[in-house]
């Protein structure tokens, strides 16, 4: 039986939620604000919140110094390509684990997840050498494949969880109606799991967008995405906070906007199956 929530408690919950939300969002807000300050205002003490002379100069400098669109385009291709490829491989894999499990399915799932525990730097040299061998250094193709492999365990796990929520009887019924494996996955299972697949796509797109180890280590001039764009504004000697903030804002803006518009689908997908 659901517990009655008093208006007072509801107001308190709302206030706490807003406070936590603002706390989490504050670093991003501060970065955005700093990007509109001069360098002197960016390091002012006490910090200036809104009472500073707003300027777009940092954005102009960043735009003049870097080819933002090239970095952006690389990010879109790498994050989008790896996510789509990953989902194409993960859907059949998750289907078989969810609907035709074997004795070892759970072990395989756990093993897949355990590959995420390996520090990336541990395989940097082997992967670098493979890329040299196949002429794939500084190519988007290599990063699409590598980021797909890195995120594949998460994609399979997420889809597996969603598929488990779908009654097997529906698939059985489609089989009785003459559907083959392809039709069953494409026309029956996939449409029913659209919210789950959408949230998986979104989450993995964000993960691939933010991935900064492989994208920095395997790229140079041609395939460098926005992570490399930000890295070019960081410096141990002579950091320009306002310009770095402008570069960061430009790098996170696309994903922030995407996340903002798809937040309902994200939350729905992430909490799917959480309440029995």
């Amino acid at each position: 039986m659901a517990r009655a929530v008093t208006p007072r408690r509801k107001a308190l919950n709302t206030a706490i939620s807003w406070a936590v939300g603002l706390l989490i969002f504050f670093p991003i807000l501060w970065t955005i604000l700093t990007s509109f300050k001069t360098e002197a205002e960016a390091i002012a003490d006490p910090p200036l919140f809104l009472n500073f002379s707003w300027t777009l100069e940092n954005y102009a400098v960043v735009q003049e110094r870097s080819d933002y669109m090239r970095f952006l385009w690389n990010s879109v291709i790498i994050a989008g390509g790896s996510t789509v490829l990953g989902v194409m491989i993960a859907v059949p894999a998750a289907w078989s684990m969810a609907f035709v499990p074997s004795r070892r399915t759970k072990d395989i799932l756990l093993w897949m997840l355990s590959t995420k525990m390996l520090p990336a730097v541990g395989v940097l040299y082997p992967i670098y050498l493979i890329c040299i061998e196949f002429g794939l250094l500084d190519s988007r193709a290599a990063l699409v494949v590598i980021l797909m492999l890195i995120n594949l365990p998460i994609i399979v796990w997420m889809l597996y969880t969603y598929f488990r929520e779908i009654p097997g009887e529906i698939l059985e019924a489609s089989r009785m109606d003459g559907a083959g494996l392809k039709e069953e996955i494409l026309y029956v299972l996939t449409p029913m799991a659209i919210p789950g697949i959408a949230s998986t796509l979104l989450l993995n797109f964000i993960l691939a967008w933010n991935e900064a180890f492989w994208t920095l280590n395997l790229t140079a001039a041609n395939a460098a995405p926005l992570t490399a764009f930000i890295a070019s504004y960081s410096s141990p000697e002579g950091l320009f906070y306002a310009k770095l903030s402008a570069a960061s804002t430009m790098a996170i803006a696309p994903i922030l906007i995407l996340g903002w518009f798809s937040q309902k689908q994200l939350v729905r997908g992430l909490t799917f199956g959480a309440v029995k």
Partner: protein, 435 residues
């Protein structure tokens, strides 16, 4: 068709092809993000119009760049035709045969004009492997107004004892002014570099001639204890996490009486656009302990090197000759003023009357000249390098040691405990490496 015409057509075709090849050549340069390097990127078109060689830049944060170019050069990945590397990597990589020797630079380039300390630090066995784009040492930057108010006068070459006295006099809690700001941040190139040069100036050293670590010697205890007491008494709160950038912000905000750090900071703290104390900054040589003839100043250069295995070594060499030439310095001076030219690389720069008028030029040169990477400590050592030891194991080892020291700065352990751990770490690492 006459022979003349055939020859003429052939020559024209050859020239066209050569021009097309030249225009098709594009070199990729990996570099760090600092003011001088970014400025150079802005002049790339000048180089391209002179030579027909295109340039692609890959700019990365220093530590990311170091990892990135190390991976590429050790695997011969061939991603870069020119790498920006420092004084630490150059002799090691040169010895390994990973870099193209720069022993055939043109006469106009005038390699002898490069400051001797820089040339030595970027060579191995007398062969130059990287050309310095800019060089730096470290020095004292202090607030002339606060010093005057305290009734003190900064000597040209102060001792640590004077620095402590001045810090005590300038420290003012009511006005939120720290007597002194120094690096405490863990990392071999951050706090590790600073405490190493401080130790040099107290007569300490990392290793003796047999590569035995020396942290159990009294000089290290004296140096580290002095630093910790000075900073605990007159330094900013939380200095254990302060590096160059944090101290630069503090100094620019007028919250430090003194700051001892890279000479390159001088142009930042005297720039009125960013610094609130631009008109009140004086300079002095880095200090030493009384009776010790080594000062706490380091030597560093960002230099351009060509990785062995590049297919475009000739074009790369052309770029290096252009970017580190006297002409490039004049090009920058003409467009942006003498205070903005890359410092610390060429002797002729310091002989230029216009540059001698730049307020920090003289002390920068004196600091660089006072640094001797081949003879960095009071007692003899088997290594080259002042704030580092030019062996491949140093970066990892010094980062661990500096983490122990930072734990002292944060009040998590005593000086004795940190030195004991440093000795154990260094002994184990060096034995494992076969020294």
């Amino acid at each position: 068709m006459s022979l003349k015409r055939v020859l003429g057509a052939t020559t024209a075709l050859t020239l066209c092809t050569a021009a097309a090849v030249a225009q098709d050549t594009t070199i990729t340069i990996a570099t760090v993000n600092n003011g001088d390097m970014i400025r150079m990127q802005g002049y790339t078109d000048t180089f391209t119009s002179q030579t027909g060689i295109g340039v692609e830049w890959v700019t990365l944060e220093e530590n990311v760049l170091r990892q990135r170019v190390t991976t590429d050069i050790t695997t011969r990945g061939g991603q870069f035709d020119i790498m920006t590397i420092g004084m630490y990597e150059t002799p090691i990589w040169g010895a390994n045969g990973w870099l193209v020797p720069l022993d055939d630079l043109s006469a106009e380039y005038d390699v002898q004009d490069i400051l001797p300390a820089m040339r030595d630090g970027l060579s191995h066995d007398g062969t130059l492997y990287a050309a310095p784009f800019y060089g730096e040492s470290s020095m004292v930057m202090y607030r002339t107004d606060l010093m005057e108010k305290a009734g003190l006068e900064m000597p040209d070459a102060p001792t640590w004892q004077f620095i402590r006295e001045a810090a005590a006099a300038m420290d003012n809690d009511a006005e939120d002014i720290n007597g002194i700001c120094l690096r405490g941040k863990a990392g071999w190139g951050e706090g590790g570099a600073f405490i190493t040069v401080t130790a040099n100036s107290f007569g300490a050293r990392w290793f003796d001639e047999d590569w035995t670590p020396q942290f159990d010697q009294p000089e290290w205890n004296e140096a580290l204890s002095f630093f910790v007491n000075l900073m605990n008494d007159y330094g900013p709160a939380g200095y254990a996490t302060n590096g160059f950038n944090e101290n630069l912000s503090l100094f620019q905000q007028g919250k430090c009486g003194m700051w001892i750090d890279a000479t390159v900071a001088a142009s930042f703290v005297t720039n009125p656009a960013d610094s609130t104390v631009a008109d009140h900054v004086g300079f002095a040589l880095a200090p030493n302990a009384e009776g010790v003839d080594k000062r706490a100043n380091w030597l560093w250069a960002w230099a351009l090197a060509i990785p062995a295995g590049t297919q475009k070594a000739d074009a790369a060499k052309q770029f290096i000759e252009w970017a580190t030439s006297k002409d490039y310095i004049e090009l920058v001076a003409e467009n942006e003023g003498w205070a903005n030219v890359p410092p610390g690389a060429r002797t002729s720069l310091y002989e230029t009357p216009e540059y001698q008028e730049v307020p920090f030029a003289e002390k920068t040169l004196q600091s660089i000249n006072a640094a001797d990477p081949t003879n960095p400590t009071v007692d003899p050592v088997p290594y080259v390098g002042i704030q580092f030891v030019a062996i491949p194991e140093f970066a990892g080892l010094a980062t661990q040691v500096s983490q122990e020291f930072s734990a002292v700065y944060a009040g998590q352990q005593t000086v004795e405990q940190a030195l004991e751990k440093a000795q154990a770490i260094a002994t184990e690492e060096m034995e494992a490496a076969g020294y």
